[in-house]
Amino acid sequence: MDKEMYLVLENGEVFKGKSFGAEIDTKDATMGEVVFTTGMAGYLETLTDPSYCGQIVVQTFPLIGNYGLIPSDFESRKCYLKAYIVREWCQEPSNFRSEGAIDTFLKEQGIVGLYGLDTRRLTRTLRENGTMNGCIVSEEKRIPEALEAAKGCHPQGLVQEATCPRNYAEGPEDSKYHVTLVDLGMTDCFKRYLLERGARVHVVGAYTKAEEILKDHPDGILLSNGPGSPEAEPEILAEVKKLAESGVPIFGIDLGHLMLAGALGGKLTKLKHGHRGANQPVRYLPTGRVYISSQNHGYAVDMDGLPQGAKATFVNLNDGTCEGLSYEGIPALSVQFRPGNDEGMVDTGFLFDQFMQMMEVDANAAE
């Protein structure tokens, strides 16, 4: 019988579950912001999404791990989660590409897993109270201690943890487009979309100075997704401001979008429980069309505090929050959601095409 474990939330609520993945020492505790994601398929992408860095992630779909472990589907090189909470994990996964069960992966990655609890109750608590910190312990008597720990938990250095340790480049060297991808905790798909469009992608660490980036005269800059909030990273914000003022076309995604808007004076707000899942409807204002998008963020640009000269291009159909911006005088576009041209985000791939076009225009103007 698997060991019992306790998740203690900041508000004092306790959830009892069982251990899988990495074991937790009796003296140890795992802490982080507890968030839920509503995606039904895509747990591998969730496990390897650096935007979850430092968070305890709850899957609302109860059956997780059904198609096992498929490393080629990972979105980054490792798992950045603090802990993973599911109702039931699949011990006998089935898929022709599967290389094992998720339990093995979590153990390998040292990620604590919790299963067998009322994940719907937990989700409802997070929905009603807003995102909270939580602390996982393996002994009932340590619950009060865990509560204090949860209250005092302030995760820091998330981008530092999630960004790439060293710069590298991929794609044809003689490409017409040299794109610098600022890795704030990137999921690999964005690099892939650029490569698919023939670009040479220079991936640089999150803390790379603007001067250093600009000195190579990139044709475009992509600010990637990543964990946490821009406010926690004033250093990066300052560099993004410089990049924005450089006149090089910029595409901001997720955290990159928040960084860009924040750097240009936009007001950011924390959402009550964030948007995490694969079913978020966003309206593209220029055409009125609605697209279903994949999202993972806890902050948003305040619609009443857009950066000067910025215009909303996308809004969330459910709660009216800002999902995308265009900027007057700056060749930049940014979106809060995860645009894509595979993985079911059939239609928002056009944003990458727009970005390529911006680089084209910019190159023509330069000639």
Partner: protein, 1066 residues
């Protein structure tokens, strides 16, 4: 775009009678559509020949026509009502095909009627095999290698080219009628020629067989602006090869990695975009289990059975949204009714597992071929929601009413290992249980996967249950182990049985909400399912409502099956509405995803749960109702009566004791004696000797049935000692311990009464008379209302008997009584103090809201205060004829001869000023082509021979050419008719009754035989052949006689009156 302002009056075409492949889901869809249209202030004209539906209720549309769903009739209604538009996509294949024909002929355009929902080119792209293939190719979506052919030769040629096995799919047929898999030339010849014949455009698709691939479905909704969403993905447990209607289905798909899932989702959306669908669309894929290769199997650009399932599985009202889109709205303008705050333009996400299990009619059709393939055979389905696959599957199984509460099928226990292992390869309705048994006996998951190609994910879940049961049997039943059993879906009784131990402390189920969004948003839907967990949302929901009104629980009728169809859903829903009106909070319990009762806005709260004692008790504990209602949910709900009564639950209406009195033979006999009402004499026997003795005492013919089932199951009429021997052999070989009942059988006129009783008074809205004499199950008889040749004295006697019986049984609510009149004497056959099959149509035609009045009686009101009087209600101005509809073409080897066991799946109604007119319309609605020339083949059993001459005469007079087998021919000749004598099958291989039927010279067959059922009998073969060739086959002389009269009448589809239901009552 908001509502299109040009629209004022919309016509909705329903789907007609329930047949296999087109069941109650279209009543649910049609009802949602009508409501959605009315909500927008549009005038609605509705046509549907099915009187048992809720959509044909007076409040559902402004103008309602229960008229034949034929092109001619629909045209006439359009000319009369002048709608400006017609909604084509909510009435199943029937509605779609009719709409398309109207559009293609230019009729709609010339009458200024706009086609809503789907354009003809969209329908063609989806339904015409070749255009579909071309369209898919043009957008780069892979199809299965296939070819459309119009003759057998080309079919054989192509099959040769792509290699066997191949699948044959006829164009434009319901539920794949006439299709199949051919593994060699011989099979190909048979199936292909049959398919060509079944297709209205003589066209079939021959395609490469990809059996064993995963079968994945997506429900997509698209609006005119191009916004598209997928509502739900579904994975068939049974891989490609078994019709999706016959597959166990899990929602959402689970064995697909995100890459595969997104690949198919993208493909589904691309397809729907390319077809230009505006509304709901179902897309079916085959996915290679070991590569990313896939193929599009089929696209249905309309609301379907799968969309009903997806709707109920997610809470997303597809039919309603599709309707709003059809009249101009876009997805981002339609509110999500579940949350009330978000919009319909999002993709539902669920936090539970949903399992659908088909309900097959093989318990009724013991000789039917049980093999499952591309031809759908299920009559209905159950859905179950759980937090795990195991839990949902277990709920589905115990809710399917197949006498199982786990996956252990007792019969399989007796088989040897070899027998069990070899049966794993048989793809039939019992395969799930055979696999479970095989796993228990040690067959490996890999091996079973190899044989069945069922994904190992599912097999491992079954193995999990096997292992768990092993543990349960050998370890101490701790509270923790018990909890685990509950989470896996085991009822207490099963836990005790398997473990051999008493359960520790009973654990209460908790209820979770179905909210389309996995709790991301606060939802307002009172839609719940049970599980074993921490938080009880139903309890919370009820407490938060602070409603002081008392609560009543209504139990629904479960899956659609032969004998218990949509009528009981009609009654359940009406009961809910009446209770709400009377000031109660109402909770409904049902597990059928195809119905209106399981729409979350029908009652105050919906519990999507199996209707078994433990499951309903869980709900009672949460709801703490003032009382419960069992009278409207058919046998499913009635079966709960005893248990509920013993558990001290207040049953509203007729009490358990009365129900028992009506069902228990001895008690019922005593009652009749007391009331001095006659019934056919009978005996109870256990052995063959006793049976023979009883039969001799009563005199043949006698009616035989086991005492443990009701409703005509396993009944026969015995005419000789041989019949008795054969029957008793079957019964005794099944080790049935209950006695067999033998009754004197009267070949009389059957009369049926539906009445409402308040305990003192009775209101009879009408007396029905069957065209067929007793012996044909009342559900299969053509019934006429009001009775047309009942003498005043007999009529009075029936009214008196009915009142006496209803009052003596202390009936409060509905009661259905069947009588037989023989030699001018009234005998009672059966009394059912509950709702019956005929309630919906009698209510509509008589204009008496029977369920409403019955519900009020249950609550204590008196009939005399309700304004409808007491005694026999006034005679309506119209005659109505209910005609049964069968699904024989779907059920291979089933004898079509009618008898005491019910065989029909649905019914239609003909309404006219005279019996002739009503009968004519009823027959047309039931699908009779009413051909007035050609040949008629007559071959009847000896005891029918003295009556056949008179009937033959009628056909002869009309100019039919008479064919008959020797015995029958002699009678007809003696009566002065010209007859062509036809040899029996074995008498002449070149020319015989079979070749005659195949020749195409025959338009009608009258066939009866002393014994039917056995597929190898000549008579059964001929009748089956008739089904294959769509030749009406009349097995009762009364039906044949009525048909002749109708053919001779002056009526045609051009001159019948179009009766508007709402006008008719005024």
């Amino acid at each position: 775009m908001p509502l299109n302002k040009d629209l004022k009056k919309v016509m909705v075409i329903g789907s007609g009678p329930i047949v296999i492949g087109q069941a109650a889901e279209f009543d649910y869809a049609g009802t949602q559509a009508c409501r959605a249209l009315q909500e927008e202030g549009l005038e609605v004209v509705l046509i549907n020949s099915n009187p048992a539906t809720i959509m044909t209720d007076e409040a559902m549309a402004d103008h309602i026509y229960i008229e034949p769903l034929t092109l001619e009739t629909v045209k006439r209604i359009i000319e009369k009502e002048k709608p400006d538009s017609i909604l084509s996509t909510l009435g199943g294949q029937t509605g779609l095909t009719l709409s398309m024909q109207l559009a293609k002929e230019g009729f709609l355009e010339s009458h200024g009627v706009r086609l809503l929902g789907a354009r003809p080119d969209t329908i063609d792209k989806a339904e015409d095999r070749q255009i579909f293939k071309d369209t898919m190719l043009s957008i780069g979506e892979p199809c299965i290698p296939s070819k459309v052919v119009n003759d057998l030769e080309s079919a054989l040629e192509f099959a040769d080219e792509i290699g066997y096995p191949v699948i044959i799919r006829p164009a434009f047929t319901l539920g794949g009628t006439g299709g199949g898999i051919a593994s060699d030339v011989e099979e190909m010849k048979e199936i292909a020629s049959n398919g060509l014949r079944m297709s209205p455009i003589t066209q079939i698709l021959v395609e490469k067989c990809i059996s064993g691939w995963k079968e994945i479905e997506f429900e997509v909704i698209r609006d005119a602006k191009g916004n598209s969403i997928t509502v739900c993905s579904m994975e068939n447990v049974d891989p490609v090869g078994v019709h999706t209607g016959d597959s166990i289905v899990l929602a959402p798909a689970v064995t697909l990695a995100n890459k595969e899932y997104q690949m198919l989702r993208t493909a589904a959306i691309n397809i729907v975009q390319s077809l230009g669908v505006e509304g709901g669309c179902n897309v079916q894929f085959a996915l290679h289990p070991e590569s990313m290769e896939y193929a599009v199997i089929e696209v249905n650009p309309r609301v379907s059975r799968s969309s009903a399932l997806a709707s109920k599985a997610t809470g997303y009202p597809i039919a309603k949204v599709a309707t709003k889109i059809a009249i101009g709205y876009t997805l981002d303008e339609i509110k999500n009714a579940v949350t009330g705050t978000t919009y319909a333009c999002f993709e539902p996400t669920i936090d539970y597992a949903v399992v659908k299990l088909p309900k097959w009619p093989f318990d009724k059709f013991v000789y039917a071929k049980r093999t499952l393939g591309t031809q759908m055979k299920a009559t209905g389905e159950v859905m179950a929601i759980g937090t795990s696959f195991e839990q949902a599957l277990m709920k589905a199984v115990r809710g399917a009413e197949i006498s199982l509460d786990t996956l252990n099928m007792p019969r399989l226990k007796e088989l040897s290992d070899e027998e069990v292992f070899s049966r794993v390869s048989e793809c039939n309705d019992e395969r799930l249980f055979v696999i479970f048994e095989a796993l228990k006996r040690g067959m490996s998951v890999e091996k079973i996967h190899e044989i069945t190609m069922i994904d190992e994910w599912f097999l491992n879940k079954l193995l999990h249950l096997v292992r768990f049961e092993e543990e349960l049997a050998k370890t101490e039943l701790t509270q923790e182990l018990y909890h685990e059993a509950k989470v896996l879906g085991y009822p207490d009784k099963a836990i005790e049985r398997i473990s051999g131990q008493k359960i520790p402390r009973h654990e209460r189920a908790v209820f979770k909400m179905v909210d389309t969004c996995a709790a991301e948003f606060a939802a307002q839907t009172p839609y719940f399912y049970s599980t074993y967990d921490e938080e009880n949302e139903a309890e919370e929901f009820i407490a938060a409502k602070q409603d002081t009104k008392p609560t009543i629980i209504v139990f629904g009728s479960g899956p659609i099956r032969i004998g218990q169809g949509i009528e009981f859903d009609y009654a359940s829903v009406h009961c809910v509405w009446s209770l709400k009106k009377a000031g109660y909070q109402v909770a409904i319990v049902n597990n059928n995803p195809e119905t209106v009762s399981t729409d979350f806005d029908t009652a105050d709260r919906l519990y999507f749960e199996p209707l078994t004692p433990e499951d309903v008790m869980n709900i009672i504990e949460v709801e703490k109702p003032y009382g419960v209602v069992v009278a409207f949910g058919g046998q499913t709900a009635i079966k709960l009566t005893k248990f509920l009564d013993q558990a001290g639950v207040r049953i509203l209406g007729t009490q358990a004791d009365s129900i028992d009195m009506a069902e228990d033979r001895e008690r019922f006999d005593e009652l009749l004696e007391e009331l001095k009402i006659k019934r056919p004499q009978g005996h109870t026997v256990f052995t063959l000797e006793e049976a023979l003795g009883a039969a001799h005492d009563l005199g043949y013919p006698v009616l035989m049935r086991p005492s443990y089932v009701l409703g005509g199951q396993n009944m026969i009429i015995a005419h000789s000692d041989d019949d008795i021997r054969e029957y008793m052999d079957i019964i005794l070989s099944h080790n049935i311990e209950n006695p067999v009942l033998i009754d004197k059988y009267f070949m009389g006129i059957e009369i049926e009464v539906d009445a409402i009783c308040d305990g003192e008074d009775i209101l009879i809205p009408g007396i029905m008379e069957h065209i067929e004499r007793a012996g044909v199950h009342s559900g299969d008889s053509i019934a006429v209302y009001p009775a047309w040749n009942l003498s005043e004295s007999l009529s009075q006697k029936i009214i008196n008997h009915s009142k006496k019986l209803a009052v003596a049984l202390k009936t409060k609510g509905l009661v259905n009584i069947q009588y037989v009149i023989f030699d001018n004497e009234v005998y009672v056959i059966e009394v059912n103090p509950r709702s019956s099959r005929t309630i919906p149509y009698i209510s509509k035609v008589a204009g008496v809201p029977m369920v409403d009045l019955a519900t009020r009686c249950m609550l204590g009101e008196k009939l005399k205060d309700m304004g409808y009087g007491t005694g026999l209600y006034r005679r309506p101005q119209y005659m109505c004829v209910k005609v049964p509809v069968f699904s024989f073409e779907k059920l291979i080897d089933v004898d079509v001869q009618l008898g005491p066991e019910m065989k029909s799946t649905g019914e239609v109604l003909g309404i006219g000023r005279t019996l002739d007119e009503a009968l004519y319309k009823g027959l047309v609605a039931a699908g009779y082509k009413m051909k007035k020339d050609g040949g008629i083949f007559i071959t009847v059993r000896d005891r029918d021979k003295n009556e056949i001459a008179e009937i033959g005469e009628k056909y002869a007079k009309m100019g039919f050419k008479l064919y008959a087998t020797a015995g029958t021919a002699e009678i007809l000749r003696d009566a002065g008719m010209t007859v062509i004598e036809v040899p029996k099958i074995h008498e002449n291989p070149e020319y015989n009754s079979m070749t005659l039927v195949e020749s195409g010279d025959i338009n009608y067959i009258i066939s009866s035989s002393a014994k039917g059922r056995l597929p190898q009998k000549d008579s059964v073969k001929i009748r089956r052949k008739a089904v294959e060739h769509s030749i009406p086959c009349l097995t009762s002389l009364d039906t044949a006689n009525a048909l002749a009269d109708s053919l001779m009448s002056k009526y045609s589809q051009d001159n019948t009156e179009l009766v508007e239901l709402n006008d008719m009552k005024h």
